[in-house]
């Protein structure tokens, strides 16, 4: 359900409101009415939202967010994009490629800032050639490079950027406060940005891309220059942009590995050509591998070996492979857990042996497997159109 907040915000995804006739009317009215009247309208809209929201719970699925059709961009010397056809749905999509693979060119074209040499592209159903301004109103962009003036505070900067996106002054301030909090900037936001760490700067850059509540954000190498912890936090934040905020994400990276947890879908381009476009969900989510680690005890000096034997006896398939490079490597048993009962079996077996259970967790496959030639059978490839 929608809950109208003071200041005219509606909680929950706006997707259901797009479809609500009352909201549609409200939107048309809001372009002509003074701001306070619009506020009144959205108060009224609350009642309507209560009744209509439920009916539209799945409309967000199956909509194309970005579509390109034999999109090409040729410069006198290089071909940046070569007849690229993509069909990207809602969610988090990774655009992977080496430096110079055409990622930035692609983003420029999608923002309607650079005409394609050939082919066409649509963003949120709008043609990039003719509706550049409309697209840029609904899309956020986070550049790869540094773009923050050091002598202004994050708050001032993001408020200004919100107004540049067309938000009225009051709304710009409210959304700035909200967005900065969402990306994890608190008291620091009143200090000049010159003194920020790289991680904080990246958060401000993300905030300015989100402040106008776009339907889609284009993030160009958001993890550049971050340490492993900052990288993980940024990737988690990006995931939340979709899961919590309902904003679709196109994120570029030259590292395939870091997108595995974040993306629903990965597009790999190389030399301007589409190399592969695959869904990552099968690999990163519905895996049946279970990792178990146990302590040793006086009666069983090698707890792992005892457990391995006990579980094998109970009919559990145990993977031969050993994980490397992770804490506890060598002490972790990887086993096949087709259902809930295996979890119980492991628990009971461990308890029966008098061992301590350190961890029992689902393991995800690595995305790199998707792109190996001998990819696993459950791999579902979405071929380019």
């Amino acid at each position: 359900m929608n809950v109208t907040m003071p200041g005219g915000y509606v909680k929950g995804s706006s997707a259901d409101l797009w479809k609500s006739p009352a909201a549609d009317l409200g939107e048309r009215l809001s372009s002509r009415l003074p701001y306070w009247l619009v506020l009144l309208w959205s108060e009224k809209d609350r009642a309507v939202g209560l009744t209509t929201a439920v009916a539209h719970t799945t409309t967000v699925e199956g909509v194309t967010v970005i579509a390109t059709e034999s999109l090409s961009k040729r410069f006198p010397r290089v071909t940046a994009l070569d007849r690229l056809s993509l069909d990207i749905g809602p969610g988090v999509t990774g655009l992977v490629g080496a430096n110079g693979a055409g990622k930035s060119t692609m983003i420029k074209i999608l923002l309607g800032l650079s005409p394609a040499t050939e082919g066409r592209a649509e963003v949120l159903g709008l043609d990039v050639q003719t509706s550049g301004a409309e697209i840029r109103e609904r899309v956020g962009y986070m550049p790869e490079h540094d773009c923050l003036p050091p002598d202004v505070s994050a708050t001032e900067f993001v408020v200004h950027m919100a107004r540049m996106s067309g938000l009225p002054p009051t709304a710009a301030r409210e959304r700035t406060a909200d967005t900065l909090r969402h990306v994890g900037l608190y008291e620091e936001r009143y200090r000049p940005m010159g003194g920020y760490s790289t991680g904080m700067k990246q958060r401000v850059k993300l905030a300015q891309a989100l402040v106008h509540d776009p339907k889609l954000v284009l993030l160009d190498e958001p993890t550049n220059g971050l340490d492993p912890v900052g990288r993980d936090e940024m990737l988690g934040l990006i995931r939340r942009v979709w899961t919590d905020f309902g904003i679709s994400v196109l994120v570029t990276s030259h590292l395939l590995g870091e997108l595995e947890r974040t993306c629903d879908h990965v597009v790999v381009i190389d030399g301007g050509k589409l190399l592969r476009s695959s869904s990552t969900s099968d690999f990163t989510r519905t895996t049946t591998t279970l990792a178990v680690e146990v302590t040793d005890s006086d009666t069983h000096p090698d707890g792992t070996a005892v457990l391995r034997a006990a579980l094998a006896e109970a009919g559990v398939t145990i993977h031969a492979g050993v994980e490397e490079g992770l804490p506890g490597a060598g002490h972790i048993l990887l086993l096949e857990a087709p259902g809930e009962e295996t979890y119980d079996l492991v628990r009971d077996t461990v308890a029966g042996l008098g061992l301590g259970l350190v961890r029992m967790e689902q393991r995800r496959h690595h995305i790199a497997e998707v792109f190996r030639p001998e990819a696993s059978p459950q791999h579902e490839e979405v071929p380019a159109r």
Binding site: N2, Y9, V60, C147, G166, L237, T243
Partner: protein, 303 residues
């Protein structure tokens, strides 16, 4: 709560949990391109006087604004006390006398307005929003010209109010005030354009400051020296054309031909009416060229 958003089957890392305060979508009006252009204009105009920026950046513009106004206050005080029947300075001459102050102001504020965006690479953020290149250039150009107009027109307003307090002839003073305003408006647009072009050529602020000072003062010095040489060598035909080569003498030529101002160098005389038309055309061409160069400058900057 809407439930159409698929929940992740694996949990986000704990480090991001603390931010989880619920996202609110924005459903209010989006005011579009013209509003964004206006916002950029007002932000730039305020910035030209240090408003909305650090206390340190307010010092210079406010100081220069004070310096521009103090002579006008003195003229007014003298006129009121001694009950003069006319001000001891012409409205149109005021900017000419205080051109150094105007040059310093422009040299300090034009780079502040455009070089920062280039240097810190904020420009791509603007162009990833609904505004277009022309909107950005117009907003920056308009803001700089308006800032200069505030700087140059406020002393004239003080003079005019003072002249009324001293009970001078209302119609005559108002007419001269009006001519003065037209003159400083033209000056503001011309100087604003030149200043921004010079500042936009380099992302380095220091170079911008130096370039603006050099172009304005060096050209004025050179032109007035050449005028003096031409006068001394009785080469009087050349004098009226020499004024075309410096922004200040251009404005001087225009106002002494069409706005009833005495020429900047009385002994040299002003340009003839025919030459005055050329002056106006050159001023307009320079303004148009400034706009054109700025548009060209930002063509490559987008992203």
């Amino acid at each position: 709560m809407s439930t159409q958003i698929p929940q992740p089957s694996q949990a986000a890392p704990d480090t991001t949990r603390i931010h989880n305060i619920g996202y609110r979508a924005y459903d209010g009006p989006r005011l579009g391109r013209a509003y964004a252009r206006r916002s950029l204009f007002s932000q730039s105009l305020r910035g030209a006087y240090g408003l909305g920026r650090s206390a340190k950046s307010k010092v210079l513009p406010m100081l220069l604004f004070g310096v521009m106004c103090i002579p006008a206050l003195i003229f007014v005080a003298v006129a009121v006390v001694t009950k003069q029947s006319k001000l001891s300075i012409e409205y149109t001459q005021y900017a000419l006398y205080l051109q150094v102050v105007i040059s310093i102001y422009l040299a300090a504020q034009a780079p502040q307005s455009v070089s920062r965006d280039l240097r810190f690479r904020t420009v791509p953020l603007y162009f990833s929003r609904p505004i277009e290149r022309a909107d950005y250039v117009l907003a920056k150009f308009g803001a700089m010209a308006s800032a200069l107009f505030i700087l140059t027109a406020t002393p004239l307003l003080i003079l005019w109010i003072g002249s009324l307090l001293a009970k001078m002839d209302f119609a005559e003073q108002t007419k001269m005030f009006g001519q003065g305003l037209v003159s400083v408006a033209l000056l503001s647009v011309l100087f604003g354009g030149i200043g921004l072009v010079l500042a936009a050529l380099t992302p380095r602020r220091g170079f911008g400051v130096a370039a603006v000072i050099a172009v304005l003062t060096v050209s004025y010095g050179a032109v007035s020296t050449l005028m003096g040489i031409a006068f001394a060598t009785d080469n009087t035909g050349a004098i009226q054309w020499l004024g075309l080569f410096s922004p200040m003498t251009l404005i001087d030529g225009v106002q002494s031909t069409f706005l009833g101002a005495p020429p900047g160098f009385p002994e040299l005389g002003g340009p003839s009416t025919g030459a005055g038309v050329i002056y106006v055309l050159v001023v307009l061409a320079l303004i148009a060229a400034s706009y054109g160069i700025l548009m060209r400058r930002y063509r490559k900057v987008g992203l």
